[in-house]
């Protein structure tokens, strides 16, 4: 009996550790920000409550936060699905951007008479383009063991280059200045959920994708297999799981999700494609995935946290003399500590291998 009690206590401690691990980056970030605020002579508690106010204070502000969280739902899932399988895909940013351009292209280039068909067509093209985009480094990794970190990171620059050229050349809008495509047809726009705010139907699609991801990882053979591959490739191979197949599969799904995110952003938020389409959603998505430990619920909270910081950051400085940099510091510190957590896990694994 004492053994059972000990096991129970151990499990309790384990759970507690897990919980602390999840909120630890956030608490550490608040501490660092407090330090900075104290140095410049501000009361950290007042500032934090102001930020919280700006992020969640009214239905409007909540809508703004969720609107800012929307792209992160997609990029978080797109990153997590690869990280879980031990594939360090850092190319979600690029896939998000090419997908966005694909959807915008459908939105303005196809005849508006297509009406309701425009939205699904836009999403489909975006998903296809981005899936293809990430399938390339996936294939290179699976077939030739070319480091995915390098190939996907480099592809991000290629994505920026190609889309930058297109929106300044062939796809440049004739009406507005430069760096943007024409606006999409009204029928291609996603519905706004709470009209004055920019929160749009893409948020719901994001929630759906998140739920589908949560289902996929636990309840499909491929999802279970990808986790085994992430745990131990040699083991996975020896029990008959195809490593190349799994790598390509998660990269393609990651591409599809990135593309859907780009489409949601283009059709729901900007209503066009513009240079600087993504202020680093793909990279914030990595922080979200790390922070959320690749779980669906974790990604939801991670997205909302970063969404809140983004939406509060833009307005906090309008109404107070708090520099915007404080919010950036919090954001940056959360990311750093989330990555530290990842490093700790990686180190632990390496030790275990020895």
């Amino acid at each position: 009996m004492p053994e059972a009690a000990a096991a129970l206590r151990e499990r309790g401690i384990e759970r507690l550790e897990k919980g602390i691990g999840l909120v630890f980056p956030f608490i550490a970030a608040l501490l660092v920000a407090s330090l900075v605020l104290l140095v410049i002579g501000k009361n950290p508690l007042l500032v934090f409550s102001l930020i919280a106010q700006e992020a969640f204070g009214s239905p409007n502000r909540i809508a703004a936060t969720l609107s800012a969280a929307t792209p992160l739902l997609f990029t978080g899932v797109a990153t997590a699905i690869c990280f879980r399988a031990g594939v360090f895909n850092v190319g979600v940013e690029g896939a998000f951007v090419v997908g966005g351009l694909g959807a915008a292209f459908v939105g303005f280039a196809l005849p508006s008479s297509l009406g309701l068909l425009l939205v699904p067509t836009g999403f489909a093209l975006a998903a296809a383009v981005s899936a293809l985009w990430l399938a390339v480094p996936g294939y290179l990794l699976a077939r030739y063991e070319i480091e995915e970190v390098v190939s996907t990171l480099m592809l991000n620059f290629v994505a920026l280059g190609i889309t930058g050229y297109l929106v300044n050349g062939p796809l440049l809008s004739e009406k507005s200045g430069n760096n943007v495509t024409p606006l999409i047809h009204e029928s291609a726009e996603l519905a706004r959920l709470i009209p004055p705010s920019t929160l749009h139907a893409g948020f719901l699609i994001g929630l759906f994708v998140l739920a589908a991801y949560g289902f996929w990882i636990r309840r499909t053979p491929a999802g279970v297999e990808s986790a085994i591959v992430g745990q131990n490739r040699r083991f996975a191979r020896a029990v008959g799981i195809s490593i190349p197949g799994t790598i390509i599969l998660v990269m393609v799904i990651s591409g599809v999700v990135s593309g859907l995110g780009g489409a949601s952003h283009a059709l729901g938020q900007l209503h066009r494609f513009a240079e600087g389409f993504s202020p680093g959603y793909g990279f914030t998505g990595m922080a979200v995935a790390l922070l959320g430990r690749n779980t669906a619920v974790g990604i939801l909270f991670g997205s909302i946290l970063f969404g809140a910081l983004a939406s509060a950051g833009t307005t906090v400085q309008l109404f107070s003399d708090i520099p915007l940099d404080i919010v950036n510091i919090i954001e940056g510190t959360v990311m750093i500590f989330a990555v530290v957590e990842l490093g700790r896990i990686a180190l632990f694994r390496r030790k275990a291998v020895k």
């Binding site: 309840r219 279970v224 029990v239």
Partner: protein, 520 residues
């Protein structure tokens, strides 16, 4: 000079009432030990009996909670490994600690280089001379310019011994020194140790193999559950008496191999046929140079050989983890030479990997996942296109209880299980799908005596169901005990075949070492 220290002492290295606890586990309880000068003393016990803890205490790696360590009749506080080393206590670990990319000579002097001249340059000639002198004294030859990584293991072991002797070690502690050696090499090592004993060195060694203990040691101490269960002069005890104490009075009931039920079905098509198989090498071991062999249905076939003669390559080719360059593999008459691992599994192949920690299990994954991996697309776990979580849990629990794996929760990492339970988990997974051929590599490596008995029982029960087993093991005794037929592999070829009835350790060992068939 060092040799003279402590002359006339009656106890060279000893312990009185050592206690050490890790958390709630009492790893050593009131352990007393007395190793006389120039004695070869064996410590025997199951995994977890407290042998390693005792060694760590004697070496100063850890401090005892109570009790004393004795060196040359005087109590001695071992506060660090360095201090133990200065007192003349040196340890050779189970995994050799030589730097693979340095030459043997560099390894010999590493950390204690002889220097000469005003710039204190390393005096390689002096190093070579001192190494040579020690080697000559021990009656062995060492090619000092060879890289340690490309040197055969038994030579590496010699170098480790000489390295310690050169630095004044008077008590040599060895952890399972014979686990990597072929029978002939074991003999040579024993000769060397006896010679060292004659020259004044004291040896304390840990072993699982009672026959070796009885052959080499002067005294034997048995540890069990953290305590000294038995100690005796070897001349005054027998193998069965010592074995009795190792397992704690439990009768292992050594089974005589069951009579071969397979003979009635011998006319059937073989379960496995390999013809002219060639394959490239892993690391520096030998490639396969045309393997021809077969395994009948309901037969356990042993593959004996000194490690690194193509066993790993053959196993990987058989289970589909390596592409042969030519040749043919038939599983139940079906050509699977280039089939994937999954296709082979669907045709009835099971695989117990030699590398339990990295290939047989995903240590950080849950016990549940480790028990069902590979079956995630089979019924009842997959229903429609969906994984049925309840069925997954039940399947895992079923498989584990069938093989008597003791675990806390299915969600615990498999790492938390003991070695024997981990290996049973592998068997639970690999036998659950009723394979027609089970390829089993080193099934009892790192498993304690009772665990070994359990695994042997599992292998017998698999055969009793009519399945075939290819057993690859470095434990010759294990192969002889379990196999119906034995192949000997050397240099990537099958060099001999024997039926278990006439198999003789000496003959098999000679085939393994010389690579030529002997007239049995």
């Amino acid at each position: 000079m060092d040799r003279e220290r402590g002359d006339g002492a009656s106890v060279r290295l000893g312990a009185v009432g050592l206690c050490k606890a890790y958390g709630s586990v009492q790893a050593n309880r009131n352990v007393s030990l007395a190793v006389k000068p120039q004695e070869i003393h064996a410590i025997v016990g199951e995994n977890g009996a407290g042998k390693s803890t005792l060694m760590r205490l004697l070496q100063g790696v850890e401090q005892p909670d109570a009790g004393e360590i004795i060196v040359d009749d005087a109590p001695c506080r071992m506060s660090s490994p360095r201090q133990a080393f200065a007192s003349g206590i040196g340890m050779i670990h189970q995994e050799f600690m030589l730097a693979p990319d340095l030459t043997l000579l560099e390894n010999l002097v590493l950390g204690d280089e002889p220097v000469a001249g005003p710039l204190a340059r390393i005096d390689w000639n002096a190093a070579r001379d001192s190494g040579g002198a020690h080697a000559a004294q021990a009656g062995i030859e060492v090619d000092w310019d060879r890289k340690a990584g490309t040197t055969p293991v038994h030579i590496q072991q010699y170098v480790e011994i000489i390295r310690l002797l050169r630095r004044g070690t008077r008590v040599l502690i060895m952890d399972e020194p014979t686990s990597v050696l072929a029978p002939k090499q074991v003999e040579d090592l024993f000769d060397l140790l006896r010679k060292l004993r004659g020259a004044g060195t004291t040896v304390l060694f840990i072993s699982h193999k009672l026959k070796e203990v009885m052959a080499l040691a002067d005294r034997v101490t048995v540890m069990r559950r953290g305590e000294v269960a038995f100690t005796s002069s070897v001349d005054d005890s027998t193998v069965s008496e010592v074995a009795h104490h190792v397992v704690g009075g439990l009768d292992l009931g050594r089974r005589t191999p069951t009579t071969r039920k397979s003979s009635s079905r011998a006319v059937e098509e073989p379960a496995l046929e390999v013809a002219g198989l060639y394959a490239p090498a892993i690391d520096r071991s030998h490639p396969l140079n045309g393997i021809d062999m077969f395994v009948r249905a309901g037969e356990i076939v042993g593959l004996a050989g000194v490690s690194g003669n193509g066993q790993s390559e053959l196993v990987e080719c058989l289970v589909g983890l390596r592409k042969p360059s030519s040749g043919q593999i038939l599983l139940g008459g079906m050509d699977i030479t280039y089939a994937t691992n999954r296709q082979r599994r669907d045709e009835g192949l099971g695989y117990v990997s030699a590398d339990r920690r990295h290939e047989g299990l995903a240590l950080d994954a849950s016990i549940e996942i480790n028990a069902i991996a590979g079956s995630q697309r089979r019924k009842p776990i997959q229903r429609g296109k969906i994984v049925n979580l309840g069925a997954m849990r039940r399947t895992a629990a079923d498989r584990l209880t069938k093989l008597d794996v003791r675990f806390g929760s299915l969600r615990d990492a498999v790492r938390s299980l003991s070695g024997g339970n981990q290996q049973r988990t592998v068997f639970a997974r690999e036998t659950a799908t009723d394979p027609t051929l089970l390829v089993v590599s080193q099934p009892t490596r790192g498993v304690d005596l009772r665990g070994i008995a359990a695994i042997h029982a599992i292998l017998h029960s698999i055969r009793a169901k009519g399945a075939s087993i290819l057993l690859v093991s470095e434990e010759l005794e294990e192969i002889i005990e379990l196999s119906d037929r034995i192949y000997v592999i050397a240099d990537g070829r099958i060099v001999g075949e024997a039926s278990s009835g006439i198999a003789d350790v000496a003959i098999l060992g000679q085939m393994m070492l010389t690579g030529t068939a002997q007239d049995a």
